[in-house]
Symmetry: C2
Subunit: 318 residues, 2 copies
């Protein structure tokens, strides 16, 4: 009778939750804005409401467990979280709270990049691929790693941080405090900032990545170069990951990657330029297929397919 996983995706601007069936189908999905309060309990309340609603919607005994993906950092083994963009939560005991709310079933937590990778591996564009990197290019650049068919989250749960791989060692400052990171050139905000500095005349005072894509398609050279630069930087991170981990495929999703036509040509060209060794030339590049549901589907898989996805680096309470 346990038909669904109750999946939760904690982000800095919104929290999503869903009932996910064993075939990966998202049966019910709810989204609430992340509360901006400095009080951790006020941030928790709407999340708890979402979870309680979905549990009621599923019906008694039909929730096999709760899987959560969260913006990082996450803390193992206790399953607390300190998302950079949710300042009210510092070592907030998310796993414990969820276990109180939905007792008697497994509750598991992983980073959001890991969950996106698990989602794409379990039911998306990475199915059947044993060695996979999934990337989400959006406000930041996140990712997750599958090796030998299993999630590799690392000893601290933080593996997969392609956004902070260094691809230009004398490069521009990154929000992390370092410089030359993939995220410093490839995230939506970094692309917009760079284009504006280079002379892009944006049509609105606070332009977004969508505005930048429109400008690039209309032929603006600065907007175009921002996509070229983003694609080249991502490609360097991808080739580096393939060199160190021996990958078979990379799948790329997120808001910036939605502009395939602009991002993928320079990205593919730069992968071909950098990845010359024979084992690197076998790497395939695909677009993510689950859209913004990847994180929820992956969070569900922490509960529904634990042998592959709920090992080391995933916090777990039963």
């Amino acid at each position: 009778m346990s038909d669904f996983a109750l999946a939760v995706d904690i982000g800095g601007t919104k929290v999503a939750a869903a009932l996910v069936a064993a075939d990966g189908t998202v049966a019910e999905r709810r989204v609430v804005p992340t509360a901006g309060s400095p009080d951790p309990e006020e941030v928790w309340r709407p999340v708890a409401g979402l979870v309680a609603d979905l549990r009621a919607a599923a019906g008694a005994g039909r929730v096999a467990g709760v899987g959560v993906g969260s913006a990082g950092p996450i803390h193992l083994p206790e399953g607390s979280i300190s998302p950079v963009n949710i300042p009210a939560w510092r070592r907030f005991p998310l796993l414990e709270r969820l276990a109180e709310l939905v007792p008697g079933v497994p509750v598991r937590l992983a980073g959001d990049g890991s969950c996106a990778a698990v989602g794409e591996h379990w039911r998306g564009a990475g199915q059947g691929v044993d060695d996979l990197l999934a990337i989400v290019v959006s406000t930041g650049v996140g990712g997750g790693l599958i090796q030998a068919g299993r999630l590799v989250a690392g000893p601290t749960g933080n593996a997969g941080h392609i956004g902070h791989m260094v691809v230009d060692h004398d490069g521009v400052p990154c929000p992390c405090g370092g410089r030359g990171c993939v995220e410093a050139m490839s995230s939506g905000p970094s692309m917009v900032t760079w284009a504006l500095k280079s002379g892009w005349q944006a049509p609105v005072p606070a332009p977004t990545g969508v505005d930048l894509a429109d400008a690039a398609r209309a032929g603006d050279p600065h907007a175009n170069e921002a996509f070229q630069r983003s694609g080249r930087s991502l490609a360097a991170g991808i080739v580096s990951t393939a060199a160190i981990c021996d990958l078979s495929r990379v799948v790329i999703g997120g808001g910036v990657a939605a502009a395939h036509d602009l991002l993928f040509p320079p990205l593919r060209a730069a992968i071909a330029e950098h990845g010359r060794l024979a084992f690197l030339r076998q790497l395939t590049v695909a677009t993510a297929s689950l859209g913004n549901a990847a994180g929820l589907v992956g969070a569900a898989a922490l509960v529904l397919a634990p042998e592959a996805y709920a090992g080391r680096g995933v916090a777990s309470l039963t």
Copy 2:
């Protein structure tokens, strides 16, 4: 009575072999130059001689198996090799030949970078560390990866190629055909080439890394900058690997790393500069402790500790 592994280390300039005991002690060690002949059999003959000699030295029944590390690429699952610097050997069936020579025991093959990492993890500076990157900085830059206490060699056996991670995406050409790779800035020959181009007045016509280190210690600014540049490039590759794999330690060995005093200060400074996220700040950097025996000790461990080191990515015949 099977007291030793017979370990072999195949390189472009020399082939080493040894009897290695279960505690990692190297009991007998022999080295021959790699034959320069275009005939694969002439390259094989001295290797076969070395192996036969050591088997005889060990005594009947005292060889538990044969472990080999080789310069790449290696080909799985058949265990053939095509070392870049041994042109006579293209898909040379090394594993099969060794099994004919030493029948009735396991024979296993991994890449030389993987064997160095295994050696340092099993009996060197990486003991007890579950998530380890080992780097050999020499004529090239190689490496190997340990995750969760086990060798990760990848589906093709080529994981650990830190030398071809991209740390300067618009950077200088690399022997691999790409550019901006770690090896293009950090290997001994690339350092010498760069220093000469920058104005270093070398004391001899074909200077080596040792000459460069002497010049740096005597205060030559170009020679010094070559070490700075090498250290910074390695650091970017190390931080990138830590970001994607969630490492605990890196150990660094090889001829260039023997100049600790010149290489490690810029390397450590650049790791601190780039690795700002909390989980990256926990990374420790150590010098390799087995010297040029790491590859032999690691090759022995493929046979003597197979549960940790002879999984996926290692070719095996029994």
